[in-house]
Amino acid sequence: MAEVTTTTNGSSRLQSNAPTGDITTRWDRHKFDLKLVNPSNKRKFNIIVVGTGLAGASAAASLAELGYNVKAFCFQDSPRRAHSIAAQGGINAAKNYCNDGDSVWRLFYDTVKGGDFRARESNVYRLASVSTNIIDQCVAQGVPFQRDYGGLLANRSFGGAQVSRTFYARGQTGQQLLLGAYSALMRQVDLGKVKLFARREMLDLIKVDGVARGIVVRNLVTGEFESHTGDAVLLCTGGYGNVFYLSTNAKGCNVTAAWRCHKRGAFFANPCFTQIHPTCIPVSGDHQSKLTLMSESLRNDGRVWVPKNPGDVRAANEIPDDDRDYFLERRYAAFGNLVPRDVASRAAKKACDEGFGVGETKLAVYLDFRDTIKRDGAAVVKGKYGNLFQMYAKITGEDPYSTPMRIYPAVHYTMGGLWVDYNLQTTIPGLYCLGEANFSDHGANRLGASALMQGLADGYFVIPYTIGHHLATSKLPKIADDHPDVRGAVEAAKARVTKMLGIQGSRSVESFHRALGKIMWEKCGMARNEAGLKYAEQEIAALRHEFWNNVRVMGTGEAFNQNLEHAGRVADFLEFGELLVHDALTREESCGGHFREEHQTEESEAKRNDTDFCHAAAWEYTGGHDSFVGEKEQLHKEALSFENVHLTTRSYRE
């Protein structure tokens, strides 16, 4: 990969448009400065929303309510299936209902610190301040959050915070929030303001005169290619965790929409910031197709431990306390089992690497509820975590009420994503990116219960204000369906599919995906080093070369063809994976979810380098659109300044 590094603030392409001055009034002042579209003109604009998870559904519904005409797209059979639905534990909001010292400022502070000082302060403050509106909105929609006997809302704690600010609906908070946003979306379908296009996969972006004006999708039922044009395009397409093959993402989650936009000119920021979630069910064999997460809320009551003696063969319950190492409580007295995800995951990996792991594979640690069950009774534990315990029992065949759970970290969330400014606009005018798909709010590590918050903040409370400015200030002539740029994008998407189908090689798509995942996990997973990353770059390039010469894609393009869908996604992962690795190689520091073995303290904690890396790394694709391999990526840096939360070494010890 060739690259040219530009210096801090030196890239005129990266204007964050973040306001300055008093951080508490930045968003209000910014909203006032944005141009408005008057109510009767809104119906003249057509907005394309790709993805119907929390960000997409909330954005599509809110924009339609304002009067814009919206087209909403998802690859699933219904917008209600988007993977936001699987979020379990909860959603943060600075309501301070618990009277325990929470505030917008504290949520802002926790999020900046939790992100290891690699997020933009302005965005994070805005996120914290609209968090309270989200809860109000969702309750008004009929989201059945957990309540106390007086009828008011209940809260619990999550990692990285010392207050209880997490709202929840059983262990199914994401489901309930998504169904709330979905219901708002379907109401707009009923009113005729949203047109829904399910089972459509976005394969390319249509750019006219440098501005995003539409998308190319493949109808997954008929195989037809369709072009849809409009006045702005919103990507709400989620994260790229499936580049690791095994992750807690749904099987269909992919980077294709974001990657296609990247190849059309949208910068991709911080791809190496990936989150490994500590409480997942360990891998059971080579057949494993995905990993299952269990909510971090389990760490409120479960205690994490390994035997003090490596190779202790006794059953967990027979190991007395004296022979147990509660390593999170030992190493991090102040936060104990509730340290942030990156810290908890690395500690578990360290324990296993040193030979203390448990279970058949020795790649697991215990999460034990014995003491809580003794203290509160099994019924209380069942009330709080019943569905999680049931899920664990179904998958492993073990009963977590009587024997400790075995857990191991797994790829879960990706903090990196398309670079966006304060308005959530990418480097392509008219192309916006919301939710997990963008890079903006979580820095190098996301705190638990903050993904739902960000997705809904972007969709309900940010984009409805910021998109108007683009529409009011841009010249947006109508684009004919046979415009050369429309036809060009359709032809490019078609050619790619035809090429894949024509290879007729001998190796399955699945096998390529697994091979890529193995490289990514081993060389660019929880711990990374220069030699491993360089090796990974070569291996990925070689695998990609083999893919384009030897993949076997079954069936035709003119039908429902899941093998072809998978092939397209894997092809993009094979390009994107190389950029992720390259970003990890370039970032010579450890911060948040990015741990470079060369940069650690004597106590094995992450060692950040604020002198050289206090920036977001935004990558620009400079190759031709049609080139499949030999990508060229140029690095641009957005300097991050911390005026309100001062740069300190993140510590959860005291």
Partner: protein, 260 residues
């Protein structure tokens, strides 16, 4: 326990419904599976089958799935005549092969309901559910209009009943399991969730009448109280919600002054 089983591979015979497209005649085809790990999920077993089919140049079996953790509602399958297979409160993706025995024959079909037409093999079109929600499964509140969340207290009992109904994952097992292909459990879940909450009150009568009308229009059958739906429901949505749906409907058409 898991670990003691790992060497006990299963040999299975699969009879799978293959149908190349919506308007093409389908048929059962038989496949032999060898040495299947009991720790595999049911869908992982189908992944293995599909890898085998690709190696022999036969098109893989199409089936819907996504989250593989029991919540998105995208997976389906009639397994030996049971929606989502033999385990209660379990989606197909959460069903594991340790539930089967060596030598078993497993019959796998798509959801059975004319309102869910087959797209290909085991994948069906469930967009009828979306259209039912579109007909009223929401509270008409615009973004930004909401009052403080705690201004609207909801008793814990009601909240829990509402949540139990809201847990529906929209998979369609209730329809597939019902001899009448009735969608009453699905519709009742959404109607109940909102009828139990103060937020749902203003549109209570309009919601239930419109959703029921759409349900009928989509071609779902009537309910004859056999409760197969409840038995098949992976989210354990109770048939008491159907009783509530009936009451809500009666209330709407007989006593409501909402002017439906």
């Amino acid at each position: 326990m898991t670990s003691s089983h790992t060497n006990r591979g299963l040999n299975l015979t699969l009879k799978i419904w293959r149908q190349p497209g919506p308007n093409v005649r389908g048929e059962f085809r038989t496949y032999q599976m060898k040495n299947i790990s009991p720790d595999m999920s049911f869908l992982e077993m189908l992944d293995v089958l599909n890898e085998q089919l690709i190696q022999t140049n036969e098109e893989p079996v199409a089936f819907d799935h996504d989250c593989r953790e029991g919540i998105c509602g995208m997976c389906s399958l009639m397994i030996n005549g049971q929606a989502h297979g033999p385990d209660r409160a379990t989606t197909t993706c959460q069903l594991h092969m340790r539930r089967f025995s060596d030598g078993d024959t497993i019959v796998i079909e798509p959801w059975r309901a004319s309102a869910f037409p087959v797209i290909r093999d085991l994948a069906t079109d469930r967009s009828a559910f979306d259209r039912i929600i579109t007909a009223g499964g929401y509270v008409s509140i615009n973004t930004g209009n909401a009052q403080d969340a705690n201004c609207l207290p909801v008793g814990r009992d009601r909240q829990e009943k509402s949540m139990a109904a809201a847990a529906c994952i929209g998979c369609g097992a209730c329809v597939a399991a019902c001899k009448n292909a009735s969608a009453m459990l699905f519709v009742s879940a959404k109607v109940s969730q909102l009828a139990l909450l103060p937020q749902g009150e203003p549109e209570r009568a309009r919601r239930v009448t419109r959703m029921v009308a759409q349900m009928d229009k989509e071609g779902f059958g009537g309910c004859t109280n056999t409760y197969e739906c409840e038995a098949a429901c992976p989210a354990e949505v109770s048939v008491t919600n159907i009783a509530r749906l009936n009451r809500e409907y009666l209330r709407a058409v007989v006593v409501s002054e909402e002017g439906v």
